[in-house]
């Protein structure tokens, strides 16, 4: 079986850990899970006919004031940048943040995911999406298990490229 290291990055509180919990354990906790540094989870999934074991590194924070060991990013095959659709500060300067992750990880592509869709109405969501110039790969809700599987599938596919 192929094993791949993949990254999950994004500001505190955007729901990275909730996405992993939903994907890995298929459950959602209302408790706020504060991530300290990094947490590694694993999940086996099938991409087409290839079985792949994802080692998901949940890395906390990527803004300039949050010092994250560079080694967390090294040796990864794919990365997902998660932001909170309901908090503007998590998606301002997205291009700069993505560039930083690319620089640290050496990856060319990063899957961009907007989470917490459940906190916005359709109109509000449309306004938010329109305000973001960067291409968003998926809009998810860890709470309502919306698009979570697809987001990780996209990540797994990216890791095989």
């Amino acid at each position: 079986m192929i094993a791949k290291k993949v990254l999950l990055v994004g500001n505190f509180g955007v729901g990275k850990t909730s996405l992993i919990r939903r994907f890995v354990l298929n459950e959602f906790s209302e408790d706020y899970i504060s991530t300290i540094g990094v947490r590694v989870s694993s999940k086996i999934l099938k991409v087409d006919s290839t079985e792949i074991k994802l080692l998901i590194w949940d890395v906390a924070g990527t803004s300039d004031d949050e010092k994250v060991p560079k080694a967390y990013f090294m040796g990864s095959s794919a990365a997902m940048y998660v932001f909170d659709l309901s908090r503007q500060e998590t998606y301002t300067n997205l291009e700069e943040r993505l560039a930083l992750v690319k620089q640290l990880s050496g990856l060319k592509e990063i899957t961009l995911v907007g989470n917490k869709k459940d906190l916005l109405t359709e109109d509000e969501l449309a306004v938010v999406l329109q305000s973001i110039s960067t291409h968003i790969d998926l809009v998810t809700s860890a709470k309502e298990d919306d698009n979570v599987e697809d987001a990780f599938l996209a990540l797994a596919k990216q890791s095989l490229n």
């Binding site: 590694v40 080692l55 060991p69 080694a71 040796g75």
Partner: protein, 272 residues
């Protein structure tokens, strides 16, 4: 006839007198009666609600007051640490004493067995010809024998597990390898100067050791007492192992082949 009329008049006067004297008291009694009746009526109306509330409290006490009680207990314990220690000390003391006595009995038995074995004629002759260790070293080595419980070959940058040997029952070795790499990276980033690596982590009876090479690192978990001689032998074995793996990269691509090699290396180490 006249007398009878006189008595009647007297009675009337007497009653009038009673009425006059007891008027206030009678009024008070009447008010009290009314109040009592009102209270009874009120009680009969309120009782079911109070009973229901009591039942609700009884059923859901932990929900309503659990947090408050926990917080109160925490505060109480924090503010009365001396009293808590005094209350727990005798119980803890007994438990610790019991545990130590039991462990010493086991140690005593183990030393006895080892001494009996090591001082047999056969062992004395064997040691005479080997002429390496002192008797004390020999006995202690047997009693606290160091054992390699786990051996992981891990990708240095990715933290991906390439191969492993395990005596224990670790549920998810891949995840352990990832976390170990993350801890290593964190420690190196936080405390070390450039180019220095985290090499040892100790916890309880285990020691985690990491040997770093160019593209991989070897992580071992050992139990028992690690004497200098065992450390030397282990280091030699791991250096040879890394040399073999890095010279023949097929091992890095074939997990079962690598696992077999790890098993052989550890078997050799035990037999030395």
């Amino acid at each position: 006839m006249k007398k009878a009329a006189e008595d009647h008049t007297k009675d009337k006067r007497f009653e009038l007198l009673i009425d006059l004297l007891l008027a206030d008291d009678r009024q008070d009694i009447s008010l009290l009666k009314e109040e009592l009746l009102e209270a009874k009526n009120f009680k009969s109306k309120v009782d079911p609600f109070v009973d229901a509330k009591i039942e609700d409290l009884r059923q859901n006490f932990p929900v309503y007051f659990g947090d408050t009680i926990t917080e109160t207990i925490k505060v109480q314990i924090k503010e009365s640490q001396d009293e808590v220690v005094e209350a727990l000390y005798p119980i803890m003391g007994k438990l610790v004493k019991k545990f130590i006595a039991s462990e010493i009995a086991k140690l005593f038995e183990s030393i006895n067995n080892t001494i009996n074995e090591k001082f047999s004629v056969k062992s004395i002759i064997k040691r005479f010809f080997k002429g390496k260790k002192t008797n004390a070293q020999d006995v202690l080595q047997e009693v606290f024998e160091p054992v390699v419980e786990e051996l992981f070959v891990i990708g240095k940058e990715s933290g991906l597990l390439i191969g492993s040997y395990s005596r224990g029952n670790i549920a998810d070795k891949d995840m352990v390898s990832g976390m170990l790499t993350a801890i290593k990276a964190f420690a190196e980033d936080a405390f070390s100067k450039e180019g220095q690596d985290l090499e040892d982590i100790k916890f309880e009876t285990f020691q985690l050791s990491m040997m770093n090479f160019k593209s991989i690192y070897l992580a071992t978990a050992t139990s028992g007492v690690l004497n200098a001689e065992f450390k030397d032998r282990l280091t030699d074995s791991l250096n040879n192992l890394a040399d073999t793996i890095l010279r023949n990269r097929d091992y890095l691509a074939d997990e079962s082949k690598l696992n077999k090699l790890l098993e052989e290396v550890l078997k050799d180490l035990e037999q030395k």
